[in-house]
Symmetry: C4
Subunit: 218 residues, 4 copies
């Protein structure tokens, strides 16, 4: 690897490019999370019992809720990572595009889950594909973060404790998804609820990472 | 609750994060409002009487109009709230994600309303679900604002009168939605027109909040 | 009208709000223009003669082209207007939301045109609805601009010649759309080509408005 | 051509307009890349063998992957070009709108490819249309860049070596697409894999362009 590839130019900081990359990433996250609603179909020919027809679609609402929470959680993790990262190199750009590709894909397994979670065997298939997609998204956020750490792309003013906490926080997600994928082979609905719990877990503590252990504000 | 969670770091303001959160929120609002048009279908096999077929779809245009006005009104309220808020904590991030989840959901009850508002019983069901979604969006904007007030996240330079006016303004929306949901059980179309009025009411006065009572510009 | 409504606060400029409103508007324009492609359907069951099936869909490509050019032209006009405008009041916010509502609606008449432009009578109906939507969008850009002029919301450093040129430029669009709507009652395809010409006309000269007549750069 | 058209105003730099144009362009790229997932349908009536039905849709996933990589690559090239460009004139605005029109169109040929790549003759038609769209997008990025160079819109502080490298880099894409379009007439799948390779090639080296040959950082 040529040394220059991983070094920023001292005379031309890559701030602007980072800004546009963040804007592009935020755009993809915002669109993917909003497209989820298109997977919820208006029940046709249900004038006789619309309430029943709407309630029968509960897997669609569950899928919407879980996928929204998951994309929200991945976006929070992604914005924590990119906030700590001061510069971006070619490999990180590609890894990030890979992450965005998985996030953009989420509406498809969500639709699959909504359509088949009630079926015996197909429910297991749908829950497994759903979980594998989340596992991939979660793993790629971790890879982007670890790559940034390894290549010293993280800003020098980020406290070591914050870096350790974020690194530590990103791990259990992977284990959780792996476990739930196995659970989903037996009880698909249980796995989906597990994915919701993982997403909520991720949404909660991300903000704590901003404080150092001896924060002068406490 | 640890004190540190609700305090910002004095040495590292959360400006950047707030900026990205606003950008993400604005993205979701803009996408949700633009996806509404996808609920309006091109009438099939209507070469004989296209004008009749297009006019017969009037509930779709009504739903588009009312939902567009409502998302626009919620966006205006949301941008007033976030403009007055100087910093964001973990709970507020979650409440905001919840609000965005409800806003992103609006295209579905809009499609439901367009398909069934003309039916006897199904029209009542559709109008009720429609109203409940708006009630939830409206309530969550209020919750985000009250949480920010309670946790003192509002910028200290915002005049007290402005804070009182915004707090006061957000209330009647809830009462209006509750009333219209009841009306919708009897006259769905009347309720939908009521939702339009509430949205227009919200769109109008938000800008007045920027002025203090003894504004030097008058 | 209370004087204060139209005056900005000297001590609190509305820059931030204007920024977010521009970002929201740009988002809606970008999404509406990109959603146009969803109106082009993949021809089903055409393995025998896919090329023929794809070519038969020429009204879809024409609609995509004309609507893309029109939204692009309206966006250019809108960004010229908002660049010259220094501050925004409540009425202007509502007028702008109305403009965005019409722009977001464009994918529907585009789909209608693509489906029916080849039919005898239905083609006239579709072309008329298409043209009326463009007329409304074009008129609303003009209304927003004239309102800003009338209420003195335009930045004082914009040269009078630039203001006159933009005012003058926005007029022929209306006349062109009105003329083409009449043409469309007889020859729908001709009207659609007319809409394309109007859009191209708008895309071209907007940039000239930036120069004064005695620009020191020439 | 009047000289003034291509000159910026010395007293009024077009920075703001450039910013909004970049934001609009980034929005269109982000939306087009995220809409690709809508071309992947949930297989209907497949409760008996969902895994089989999902695997049978492999052309949809391949199309998603290749189109995502291609839009990502074009976006990277576009953001390199616009970063080096200091000012924008009317012609460049139109060329850029043309590029965005082609990029926004990509979901349609992607859906076409996914539906027909497995068919004998239709596969060739679909792969050719797919390749021609990519060729047009790639050519238009090159045209935008060469126009900016020719009209001296590139910022004067961009090193000559960087300009030469970007110019050189954009060429092989065109040759690659032309070659693969021919290949696609015989082996559609092979051409699609070729398009993936071209996209990956573009994603990789763009970042190198930022360094000069005697970069002080190496």
């Amino acid at each position: 690897v040529p040394a220059g590839e991983l070094e920023p130019e001292p005379d031309r900081p890559q701030t602007l490019r980072t800004t546009r990359f963040e804007a592009f990433s935020d755009g993809v996250f915002a669109i993917a999370i909003t497209l989820l609603v298109l997977e919820i179909a208006v029940p046709p020919d249900s004038a006789d019992d619309l309430l029943g027809a709407v309630l029968d679609q509960y897997p669609s609402y569950l899928g919407y809720l879980v996928s929204f929470a998951t994309i929200g959680a991945v976006w929070l993790a992604h914005s924590a990572v990119t906030e700590f990262v001061g510069r971006v190199d070619a490999t990180m750009m590609r890894l990030n595009l890979l992450l965005l590709m998985v996030v953009s894909f989420i509406p498809f397994p969500t639709g699959l889950l909504a359509a088949y979670v009630g079926s015996e065997d197909a429910g297991r298939v749908a829950a497994t594909i759903y979980g594998l997609t989340f596992l991939a998204a979660s793993a790629l956020v971790g890879v982007v973060w670890r790559y940034a750490l390894h290549e010293r792309l993280v800003r020098p003013d980020v406290p070591a404790i914050t870096i350790r906490m974020l690194t530590k926080r990103l791990k259990p997600g992977l284990a959780g998804y792996a476990l739930m994928i196995v659970v989903g082979l037996f009880r698909p609905i249980l796995a989906v609820l597990g994915y919701l719990l993982i997403a909520v877990y991720f949404i909660v503590p991300i903000r704590h990472l901003k404080r150092g252990p001896t924060s002068p504000s406490t």
